[in-house]
């Protein structure tokens, strides 16, 4: 009822074409790249900050929940509403407003596609460093909301290290600009909190990104191993030798087989695992670092190390990495991509355990992941049409989390909590710490209308902890 009223109120403001009420149109927004699907009650496609603010204010008036949405490539249900809500799709706010080539910054709309930004800035010798494997479909707004990572975040850091400022529409409709081009602005670092907040603190309507100079030289190595453990040892060995390469990605045999069947590029399908290792920078550094990485790999038992001879060969190697998820379809009709982080030194034992879990539940599993960060991405392939398969997948996922936490790891490295991992959060934070998270959220969104039921489990806010707020402290 209130969604209908909201639609009526928004039509004159946004135009009929930007207010989607027809079930077929809405259905397109019912899912992200995860497994959960919910039909959104209403979808709007604003084109400006003012329009977003108008939508948010109207939703506040009518008590309607708000769910921001970017490219819909999230894997944890982040952009999929949990209750009747208006989905605010930011894809039309895809303007690159201004680029400062000297200061190496740009103000961009949240709907700008990650890869497009780097393409546009390429002639200036600059790029946006975070490069999630989904970079041809995910948006900068989504990257900000999830604090996305990617292969090159090993040396460069996740999205948050590349976001200088955000314009945010708060849940009451107020527009604020947090952060800026100058460093260390006084006051709380609200920019840092908004990054990674998964659409629960407001709608990001503009982003000030830091651009990174394209390296003068780059070298990409493909290291082949007969045992997964040797690859994992090489990861620790390289970093122990004092080098943080740009990227250090592991692909196991299953991945290689699937990729080769998909791409036909001559991948070593008989290897147990390969490492894709890239160093970049000054030509002198690149040569020395690549030589050292190769030496470590050989010492750890690599049976072969190929070096990409030119940019074309390099692109082929990266294609194998970045197309991996697309190729999963070859393995099974449905897939579930997990994301956990373990201390790098525990990679070999955790990987053994991952294979055992898959075997126990009779699931296909491939491992292709950011090994340098210890950030695992086991991908399970299956057919949802099969009886009981969803339960098996969920059970396997839970076991994987149990293994992760038993070695002191984290629930997620880059995909976020969403609804998928929400109920695991009490396993890593005690009640007081969860309550603190809920307090922060409450300060932004006292009514809990932004992406409700996401990120924090029910009952996180326990008023019993600490002293009650004094009169008037709610400001």
């Amino acid at each position: 009822m209130s969604l209908e009223a909201l639609a009526e109120r928004l039509r004159p403001l946004l135009g009929d074409a930007a207010v989607l009420t027809h079930p077929v149109e809405r259905h397109l927004y019912s899912k992200d790249a995860g497994l959960r699907r919910t039909e959104p009650g209403l979808v709007v496609l604003p084109t400006s900050t003012e329009e977003v603010a108008a939508v948010v204010r109207a939703a506040a008036d009518l008590g309607v929940a708000v769910v921001p949405r970017g490219g819909g490539s999230g894997l944890t249900g982040g952009a999929v509403p949990s209750e009747p809500a208006v989905v605010v799709a930011l894809t039309r706010m895809d303007e690159i407003h201004e680029i400062d080539a000297v200061g190496r910054t740009a103000w961009v709309g949240p709907g700008v596609i990650n890869l497009d930004l780097s393409e546009v800035t390429r002639p200036l010798g600059l790029h946006f460093a975070p490069d999630p494997s989904s970079q041809s479909v995910c948006t900068i707004g989504g990257n900000v909301a999830n604090n996305a990572g990617g292969p090159h975040c090993l040396a460069e850091g996740s999205t948050v290290a590349h976001i200088l400022g955000v314009e945010l529409v708060l849940p009451d409709g107020e527009v604020v600009v947090l952060g800026g081009a100058a460093p260390d602005l006084p006051g709380l670092d609200l920019r840092g909190v908004v990054v990674g907040s998964e659409g629960t603190l407001g709608v990001v309507t503009r982003v000030l990104v830091k651009l990174t100079p394209n390296p003068p030289d780059v070298r990409t190595l493909l290291m082949e191993f007969d045992e997964v453990r040797q690859a994992a040892d090489t990861v620790s060995g390289i970093i122990g030798a004092g080098i943080v390469p740009d990227a250090l990605e592991l692909m196991d045999r299953k991945t290689l087989e699937v990729m080769e069947a998909f791409l036909h590029i001559g991948l070593p399908v008989d290897a147990a695992a390969v490492l894709l290792c890239e160093t970049s920078g000054h030509p002198a550094a690149v040569a020395a670092e690549a030589a050292l990485c190769e030496e470590v790999a050989r010492r750890c038992g690599a049976r072969a190390v190929q070096v990409a001879a030119d940019e074309a060969e390099r692109q082929v190697l990266w294609k194998a990495r970045k197309a991996a998820f697309g190729a999963v379809a070859q393995m099974a009709p449905d897939f579930y991509l997990h994301d956990v982080v373990v201390p790098r030194t525990t990679l070999p034992e955790v990987l053994d355990e991952v294979y055992r879990i898959a075997e126990r539940h009779d699931l296909h599993i491939m491992n292709v992941f950011h090994a340098g960060d210890g950030n695992l991405h086991p991908i399970m392939g299956f057919d949802l049409a099969e009886d009981g398969v969803r339960d098996a997948v969920m059970a396997a996922a839970d076991e994987l989390i149990a293994v992760t936490l038993s070695v002191g790891g984290a629930l997620t490295g880059e995909h976020g909590i969403g609804t998928e991992k929400r109920d695991h959060l009490p396993k890593v934070f005690d009640e007081v710490s969860l309550d603190a998270q809920a307090r922060l959220r409450e300060a932004f969104d006292p009514e809990g209308r932004f992406n409700p039921e996401h990120v924090l489990p029910k009952g996180s806010r326990c008023a019993d902890f600490g002293r009650p707020l004094p009169e008037g402290a709610w400001v």
């Binding site: 000297v102 006084p186 006051g187 020395a288 201390p343 959060l425 603190a436 998270q437 300060a443």
Partner: protein, 366 residues
């Protein structure tokens, strides 16, 4: 070290006079910190947090009832050498972290030129070192925190792995918070391998410094411009040769400029492209961090006020790091109120509702 001893060892721009209160508590555990803060909340006492005293000049003056010293929170809790993480209590100093890590060929991204500063203090004020151009600010290397909130709860956030997005980023929120959420009592830092080689090259500025690829720092003082290079020996040598000029091994950080009578030490923070213009306008000594956007310079009140008037509309700020009391009244330590001040107040009200920790000290007088 006793508290009076600590005081006498303070650096010149730390604070003027003794800490303004007689009652000092030195808790030995995070739990006791929380207990102290809970008690102070109940009794409505104002608490000043004291690390090594090296950054006490930042922010509005606090007139405390109690000083809480982190000096005995001095434990290195966990160094996971192969995982490149280090967990320390708040009172551990930058210098002792460096000496713990050195034998392992590792480093933490902290202001290495400020050896006496404590980790808690560095995080509370958000002090990044000169190596920031290459390494990024200190907040980008904080993986986990344990915070004793103003109302005495012990809150943990983050995780002890080098990358994660597990819940809201209370780590970054606490960096630069000046205690408005509470006291950071323990922190896990992301470590990095120490670069294999480093050099300091003196160049003519501009435009020579711009030719270096990813230098550690480009620092300009009144009489020279230094490019700090780090990396493999091959890279450092090649880059130093390409730059020309005098080159020395190691990173030879310049001294912080010293204020003269009547002057304070100010941190001018601007979009990095404005640094050359700021340098043209500062009256005396300075250290300018090119590419970062920070110029530290001694200035008297009227000069700082004029600088502020010019820069605030351009997105800059002029922050007082230390000086005599009059400067805190006029032109004041922060300048205009920060963005989203109401929202900041709402957050602070949920962590320190009675405002017991460093009350009034942060920007906007929170």
């Amino acid at each position: 070290m006793t508290f009076p001893e600590l005081l006498s060892s303070l650096s010149s721009h730390a604070i003027h006079g003794a800490p303004p209160c007689d009652l000092t508590v030195r808790p030995k555990s995070p739990e006791v910190v929380a207990d102290v803060l809970a008690a102070c909340s109940t009794d409505g006492l104002r608490v000043l947090i004291w690390g090594a005293g090296t950054h006490q000049g930042i922010g509005h003056r606090v007139d405390p009832d109690v000083v809480l010293s982190t000096e005995r929170l001095d434990r290195i809790v966990d160094h996971r050498v192969d995982d490149l993480t280090l967990t320390v209590q708040a009172g551990v100093t930058v210098g002792s972290i460096a000496s713990t890590l050195r034998p392992h060929g590792q480093m933490a991204v902290l202001p290495e030129e400020e050896k006496a500063a404590t980790v808690g203090g560095v995080l509370a004020v958000g002090a990044s070192g000169y190596g920031r151009l290459r390494m990024g600010p200190v907040r980008d290397h904080l993986l986990e925190v344990l915070v004793a909130t103003g109302d005495g709860r012990l809150v943990r956030a983050g995780a002890k792995v080098v990358k994660h997005v597990q819940g809201y980023d209370l780590m970054r929120l606490s960096v630069g918070s000046l205690g408005s959420l509470g006291v950071v009592v323990e922190a896990t830092l992301k470590l990095w391998p120490t670069p294999r080689a480093s050099a300091t090259v003196e160049v003519a500025m501009p435009p020579d410094a711009g030719r270096a690829f990813r230098p550690q720092a480009v620092l300009q003082t009144r009489d020279r411009t230094l490019v700090m290079l780090t990396g493999t020996a091959e890279e450092v040598e090649a880059q130093a040769d390409a730059l020309g000029g005098e080159s020395e091994r190691g990173l030879l950080w310049p001294d912080q400029p010293r204020p003269r009578d009547g002057e304070g030490l100010w941190s001018v923070r601007v979009p990095p492209t404005l640094v050359p213009e700021v340098v043209d306008r500062v009256p005396g000594e300075f250290v300018a961090q090119h590419g970062v956007g920070i110029v530290e310079a001694p200035m008297d009140g009227p000069t700082a006020a004029a600088m502020r008037e010019w820069l605030e509309p351009l997105g800059g700020v002029v922050v007082l790091l230390g000086g005599h009391d009059a400067l805190y009244a006029d032109p004041g330590p922060w300048g205009s109120d920060p963005a989203a001040l109401d929202l900041q107040r709402r957050i602070v009200a949920r962590f320190d509702p009675d405002r017991v920790v460093n009350p009034g000290r942060p920007a906007g007088g929170i």
